[in-house]
């Protein structure tokens, strides 16, 4: 099915199941420890071996030699496969750095060996016995230093690095009120709870892999390329994923090492990346330096807006696209954006939740707060004044649906925005209290997505798709979609995900998963409905699927009876026309935060949080809300603690574990409130839904920064806003 014209009324609009607050159908499995993650698949008939990886201890250069004699002689060791012994391997299309094979070291903790032993303890001990001789080369590791040598990168997913409309320089120079500030965001880590892990097993030339992947088909294709085998020979499974946040979008070394180790030993091999290896071995969100210039007339109308961003990556990598939202978020006749990319020899930079927008809004939404203050306007009023219903760079291109203003207004009312005082003016005991706001904005992307739906003679509907559930609730919303389409209860639907034997889906990323994957299920269900109607001799135009029955005119048949002995199958892939080109499709939000800043220590505590989101139809308000509060939590981390510390001499991230890379814990997070505006977007899909998983993160950190300013009068433009950056300028303690 191709979605080419705006959705009309369809069975989803009945909202008997879709849109209802249905608890996760995999909730009992997860809360009882029965959900099986990658490393946990256990067949008592198989004799598993354990692979333990070793990472490079230099950032750039070559391996001269590796002495593995002691490791090979260690108790229980079956094989030591090194990056030298395996020779050059292919590199996945979506990988920037190679994952294994050959003597070249492209980044610190790049995998250089895997030791296979009978037990985990034996493999780990033996890995420490490998001696490596390197020929180290100097590298570039400091973005601030490399900024001057940054170049204009190639297009990112079709978007050019630079855009310009009107005369930015002239308008900015002539503006009655203007601001020009620079902001920085540090390198950040996904730090999902489940480390990357795989089990690999060969039968002849056929490879079975249990792994932890957001995108089954991307991994399968890139694993085939890396190993130089036919993709069809790989069976990949990832039914439960312990978090990803972008860190499991692309094939990682655990799958490659497990496959190679299994080949070398003839045994099924389990490989998990040890937590301290994970940060430098895998990917991270690159640091940015962002300059924002805004000019406005005295009434507060933006006349010039410019956003430039510098980031770094390995050769062949891409920029952190931090200027993207500035192309679309606010009006203004004269505009420019530009991205520059420096070559850095740090580990691979790549997508982390809301790539581009998250760090971009961390800067832009402070700038908007600063500009509003210069203009003497309330920051909400300033945003509303400069709202746009069209793509400001291409005014002939409208938004499909945009209610940012509604989010801001409702949020202001619910949060008590009118009680906000001037900076530094509200004190409770030793705490300075402040309120902050920021806009949330993230585009709605759509991806082709396939599914197969089987109707059994027991009336049960089973959905098969290689879609993944990374905690987002895919199992549940897919069950809701199939239930609504086939007119059955959710408990009459079985959902089977994350298996390469199933149709290729959108996968989980870019907040495109929920809308795209349920649309794929919709398309497959349309096929199944047609098959049911045909078998019953019903006219498919007036057939109704309801309460486990199929009705046409005055005839009614139980759905189970229609299945026949062998059952019926519907399979299809949702494809997309040009509605995302003709109309800008985006999601919108308003984040409100109250913080307290300790007068004596400068410590910030988040006291209240509210997000108001406009993201089309909400398929399940429970799982959608959890997505948003989780993103708000991550936003607290990015605002206040999270920073990968770069050793600019040796070229690696120093704080590469969960103790030293500080993510939010229970004590950091207050009660969080989320409101979804009741809306649909017929331009987005037959589901009329959009994504929320990344929207929830977009703008939160800036709202916290703005709240800290409102509490203290201290403006910090370098994240994270740790107490050392605040304490020096705090008012005198009375």
């Amino acid at each position: 099915m191709k979605f080419e014209t705006p959705a009309k009324t369809n069975p989803i609009d009945n909202l008997k199941v879709v849109g209802q607050p249905i608890h996760r159908i995999d909730g009992e499995l997860k809360t009882t420890g029965r959900a099986m993650y990658a490393y946990e698949w256990h067949d008592p008939n198989l004799h598993y071996a354990y692979g333990y990886p070793l990472g490079s201890s230099i950032a750039k250069g070559r391996i001269k030699s590796m002495d593995v004699a002691a490791a090979e002689a260690a108790p229980g060791v079956m094989s030591v496969v090194t990056t030298l012994s395996v020779g050059e391997l292919g590199k996945g299309k979506l990988n920037t750095a190679k994952l294994f094979g050959g003597d070249e070291i492209q980044h610190y903790h790049q995998a250089i060996a895997v030791v296979v032993a009978e037990t985990f303890e034996q493999a780990r001990a033996a890995a420490s016995l490998i001696k490596v001789e390197y020929q180290e080369e100097s590298g570039t590791f400091d973005l601030a230093e490399a900024k001057m040598s940054a170049v204009k990168p190639k297009d990112t997913d079709g978007a050019p690095p630079d855009t310009a409309v009107g005369d930015f320089d002239g308008a900015f120079y002539a503006a009655a009120v203007s601001m020009d500030e620079t902001y920085t965001t540090p390198d950040q880590s996904h730090s999902m709870m489940e480390p990357h892990a795989s089990i690999a097993l060969w039968h002849g030339d056929e490879l079975t892999v249990w792994t932890s992947s957001q995108m089954i088909d991307w991994w399968r294709s890139d694993l085939a390329t890396t190993l130089g085998i036919d993709k069809e020979k790989i069976h990949m499974m990832s039914p439960f994923i312990g978090g990803g946040f972008g860190g499991k979008l692309f094939l990682r070394s655990d799958a490659v090492l497990a496959a190679i180790a299994a080949k070398a030993t003839g045994r099924p091999v389990k490989v998990a990346l040890p937590r301290p290896l994970l940060v430098n071995n895998t990917t991270h969100r690159p640091a940015t330096i962002q300059r924002i210039r805004i000019g406005a007339d005295k009434s507060g109308m933006i006349t010039a807006i410019g956003h430039e961003s510098w980031s770094g990556d390995l050769p062949g990598g891409g920029p952190e696209t931090a200027v993207m939202q500035t192309r679309l978020l606010y009006a203004g006749e004269n505009r420019m954006t530009a991205m520059r990319l420096a070559e850095l020899n740090l580990p691979e930079g790549n997508a982390m939740r809301a790539p581009g927008e998250a760090p971009g809004l961390m800067a832009l939404e402070i700038a908007i707060d600063e500009m509003a203050e210069k203009l003497g306007l309330d920051p909400i009023e300033f945003r509303i004044l400069n709202d746009t219903q069209v793509d400001p760079e291409k005014p002939e291109r409208p938004f499909s649906h945009r209610n940012l203003v509604g989010c801001l207004k409702l949020g202001a009312e619910r949060f008590g925005w009118n009680d906000r005082k001037k900076p530094g003016a509200r004190r409770e005991g030793n705490w300075l209290i402040g309120l902050g706001v920021a806009a949330g904005f993230r585009n709605n992307l759509v991806m082709p997505s396939g599914a197969r739906v089987r109707l059994g003679n027991d009336g049960v509907v089973n959905v098969e798709t290689d879609m993944t559930d990374i905690g987002t609730g895919s199992y549940t919303i897919i069950a809701q979609t199939a239930a609504e389409m086939m007119g059955v209860a959710v408990d009459k639907v079985g959902v089977h995900l994350g298996d390469s034997r199933f149709p290729i889906s959108a996968g989980s990323g870019g907040q495109f998963g929920a809308n795209s994957a349920t649309s794929g299920v919709y398309a497959a269900c349309v096929k199944l409905r047609e098959a049911v109607a045909m078998r019953l001799g019903f006219n498919s135009d007036d057939v109704v699927f309801e309460n486990g029955e199929v009705r046409s005119g005055n005839r009614s048949v139980p759905l189970a009876a229609a299945a026949g002995a062998e059952g019926l199958v519907g399979e299809d892939t949702m494809e997309w026309g040009d509605l995302t080109d003709t109309h800008q499709q985006s999601t919108f939000g308003a984040h409100f935060v109250e913080v307290g800043v300790d007068l004596a220590t400068g410590e910030t505590r988040v006291r209240r949080m509210l997000a108001v989101c406009a993201a089309g139809r909400i398929i399940n308000p429970i799982t959608a809300r959890s997505q948003v509060i989780g993103a708000m939590t991550m936003g607290v981390g990015l605002a206040l603690f999270e920073e990968l510390a770069v050793d600019t001499r040796r070229g690696f991230f120093v704080n590469h574990d969960l103790a030293s890379y500080e993510v939010p814990v229970h004590a950091d997070i207050p009660y969080q409130e989320v409101i979804f505006l009741d809306e649909t977007d017929p331009m987005s899909s037959p589901m009329k839904a959009k994504g929320v998983g990344e929207l929830g993160l977009c703008g939160v950190s800036a709202a916290i920064a703005n709240a800290i300013y409102n509490a203290t009068g201290v403006r910090v433009r370098d994240y994270p806003i740790t107490l050392d950056k605040v304490i020096g300028d705090l008012p005198e303690v009375a």
């Binding site: 009992e28 029965r34 034996q122 001990a125 429970i622 989780g630 969960l658 814990v665």
Partner: protein
């Protein structure tokens, strides 16, 4: 297996005899030897709490203790708290309040929650306990403080606290 020992533990009420490498953590004994994979390995360094289990009723990070140190001990894992269709009240409260997303930290969160309520009942003070001379009471602040060793990167904290408050049967 030169450096191996035998150890006998009662796991979820059942006696289990194991021969383990002396270096085997309690976590790996549960996961790799007994195939009780509900207990999760997030960091293997005591930094995340995903491996939390109850040993003789007290919560510990099972990655930070060796299996051979637990001869004769009673270990309760997430599988021992409740099963699908027969959930422990804390498990049911987590489902009701959607106190998880990816589910990987969840067994540790639930084991920790069960122990936290016992710790408060036993009047053990925490960093946020206001007075050491008065009885410790269940509150959201106490729960947040005591649960802070269990990281949830999906960020379900707000829902987890609601689940624990409900399971405690107390309006905090």
């Amino acid at each position: 297996m030169t450096y191996a020992s035998t150890v006998s533990m009662k796991v979820n009420g059942e006696r289990r005899d194991l021969e383990v490498d002396n270096r085997t953590s309690l976590l790996d004994a549960l996961r790799e030897h007994l195939h009780l994979t509900g207990t999760k390995k997030g960091c293997d360094h005591g930094q995340c709490g995903a491996c939390t289990v109850l040993v003789n009723g007290v919560r510990i990070n099972s990655c930070l203790t060796l299996a051979v140190m637990h001869d004769g001990d009673e270990v309760t894992t997430i599988e021992g708290l409740g099963q699908p269709d027969n959930l422990h009240p804390m498990q049911a409260a987590f489902v009701k309040h959607d106190g998880f997303q990816c589910g990987y930290c969840t067994p540790g969160q639930i084991c920790s929650s069960v122990a936290v309520l016992e710790e408060i009942k036993a009047n053990l003070p925490s960093h946020v306990t206001v007075s050491l001379t008065e009885r410790t009471r269940i509150s959201e602040a106490e729960i947040r403080e005591r649960m802070s060793g269990n990281i949830c990167r999906c960020g379900a904290y707000s829902n987890i606290v609601e689940a624990i408050v409900e399971a405690a049967g107390t309006r905090a």
